[in-house]
């Protein structure tokens, strides 16, 4: 009763919080892909994902799990990306990776090198996101839910970055920093679709977990549509 009205009415606790962010992500991807839309080629396929470790629950939320020191998402997801020489973006993109219900949402975030990532705190308590990963070391310090400006970090080095919270030791997030703007997260059944790809010879890679990255050379003709399945 005496608590501030902002906390008492908590619309953040409504179910299905992931959906708007996924939509936002898709929107961003579309925005990224729009300039390249003209001569674009596409790759579709399916990545054979390992079985989920536990039975999926209704409110499916991806989390980072480790088995024998290998980080992956659960249920398993893969990131498919095209490696090659691509022109640098005019302006650095900005992505949001909020902490919600003591978890990173999404748990696995793929970004292009140079992307700024915001870390809004959507919980009621402090978070302290830091990373000791070689690809990106940073420490945001403690910040409140309503911290302004929202803590932000620019990821300049490709690689896998493990996000941790100094306060909540169980929190794990993965940021896969990729040297390419062409990447996509597979669906739960492993299907993916990469579109708007410029023609050329590339290497198509699939990040499965922190240890496993599959690759396959692809030769993309203009307006072609390839189908590549892994493995």
């Amino acid at each position: 009763m005496n608590s501030p009205p902002g906390r008492a009415t908590a619309p953040r606790r409504t179910p299905l919080p992931v959906l708007p962010f996924l939509l936002l992500l898709l929107l961003l991807l579309l925005l990224l892909l729009l300039p390249l839309a003209a001569p674009a080629a596409g790759i579709t396929g399916r990545v054979a994902l390992p079985a989920a470790r536990t039975a999926p629950v209704m409110n499916q939320r991806y989390e980072i799990v480790s088995r024998a020191g290998v980080l992956a998402t659960n249920p398993p997801l893969a990131v498919v990306y095209l490696e090659g020489d691509f022109p640098a973006p005019a302006a650095p993109a900005t992505v949001s990776l909020p902490q919600k219900d003591f978890a990173f949402v999404p748990a696995l975030l793929a970004i292009r090198v140079g992307t700024r990532v915001e870390f809004p705190n959507l919980d009621d308590t402090f978070h302290n996101i830091f990373s000791y990963s070689p690809a990106k070391r940073f420490d945001l310090g403690r910040y409140r839910p309503d911290e302004k400006p929202v803590p932000v970090q620019t990821f300049d080095t490709p690689g896998l970055v493990t996000l941790r919270c100094d306060i909540h030791e169980h929190m794990r997030g993965l940021v896969l920093v990729l040297p390419t703007p062409h990447f996509v997260l597979t669906a739960a059944d492993g299907r993916y679709r990469l579109t708007g790809l410029p023609p050329g010879r590339y290497t198509l890679k699939v990040w499965l977990d922190s240890r496993t990255t599959l690759s396959r050379p692809v030769d993309l003709a203009a307006d072609s549509a390839l189908s590549v399945d892994f493995p």
Binding site: L71, Y132, R164
Partner: protein, 593 residues
Amino acid sequence: MSKPEPQSSRSEPPAYTPTHALSSENPKSKIQNRKSLTYRTRLLLAFMLVVSAVTAGGLVLAERNLAAAFSRELERTFAAELGAQRRVQELRQAALAERCRALVRKPRIHAALEDGALDLLYPSAVDELRDIMAPTDSAAPGGLRAEFYRFLDRHGAVIAPPASFAAGALAPVETRQLGLPLAPDSPQLGFIVRAASGAPVSEIITTPIVSGESGEVIAALVLGFKPFSTAAPDPGRSLWLGGRLYFGDHSRAGDIARALSAPPTPGVGASLALDGVPHLLFQQPLNPGSLYPPAAEVNVYPLTAFLDRQRLLRWRILGAGGLLLLGGFAFSRILVNRLSRPVEKLAVDSAAHLAGRVRAEAALESTHEELQRAARFSADASHQLKTPVTVLRAGLEELLAHDRLVPAERESLAALVHQTYRLSGVIEDLLLLSRLDAGRLRLDLVPVDLAALIAASVDDLSALPDASGLTVETDLPSTLVISAERRFAALILQNLLENARKYNRPAGRLRLAVRTTADGVELTVGNTGRAIPAAAQARIFERFHRGAVGENVPGYGLGLNLARELARLHGGDLRLVRSADDWTEFAVTFRPA
């Protein structure tokens, strides 16, 4: 001095004379005294022996009980003290372990180890461990503040901190002691020797760091602390490590270390004499099962205070025992005196009695012999006398029968004859008395009619010439049967009647009365005449006693004596009832048939 019993002697035995008894008793009683003295001494000695033995036994028992109670108390005290120490230690270690567990869960440390950022390990740890690391200037006494910390990698080797880092200074020789063959999978407690630093020994807790990603032990955190409280150093408390003792009193460390078992085992150790003072030694392993070298807490307690108390108590017991002994002696002396007095008296008395009895027996024997002799003599004499008297009487009667005698001569002869009769009567009486005295008179008791006997006797009396003037009164039942021998009963009656006649006054009275009493049959014979003087009354029953009567009264003083002896022999008695105012009365009792 007369003895009424027929069988007793006539005179007192010489042994009973007081002078004799005294003269014979004095040396004997001295001997008795000496004997009783030794008896008393012996009794006293026995009592003292018993008292001493009881006291000594009590002392030994008390001492043993006391010693047992003492050692029990000692063990209890030490056990309680050690238990309290151990609990404190356990609590402290639990708190330390908990802190270490909390520390090794820190995300930054995990991040540094898991995300390949070893360069950030110590810098991260310094933040996390800031509150547990002791400030350099404050010596927090035995608290939960660490002196240093190090990380071990997964192979148990020490990860060196950056050179300029405040992870607590450690010399290389000290650092080497932290390492383990492999990072442990459970917390390990150890102790290292601090050769270079101020504190001689540091306690280390090595806590494994388990990766949240792989679940493996990826490293370990070593935290160094001051081993137990050094704020108030207890000289008896020390730490055993690698065969040496740290803390505590250093001067005796060698001796104590030698007395310890290696590796130390828990519990009460041996007693140990240090500088001649016994000490009690306790050892308690501090890190059993640890991968680090074993260490133990060693407690050495001097028993001086306890021994002093024990000595004091022993003295008290001895004092109490001494007092008890003295009291016992005094008591036993009193008891001995009281006990020995009757015994001594008994001894003296019995000795006196013995002597007296011996004397009495001797006297009795001699008296008996004397008596026998006298009785025999009397009997012999009487017997020897009877014959001549009879012969004399026969001769005299023969002379009297002669016709030629002038009347004067005849009268003289008749008197002589009469005298012979008297003589033979005396002889008869003496014979009878001697037989009585010798105890050789056997009665042949038959029922005798006393009334008839009296009637006959009165008839005889009235026949006598000088009894003509007497008035004889009788008060008799018609028949009255008594148990007696007839001739002796007649003799008693005759003697009494004769006395009554003899001592009567002319024209006097004579009274005979018989009545039945509780004791038997009593016959009283009374007569008028001069009374017996009071002084003589007690002696009239003596032999040959004759009252102060004139010589004209016939008799020889045997009659009453004989009558009494005979009456007593019959189970009755003869006594003088009264003799005064012209009346003398005797009473004789008989047994009824």
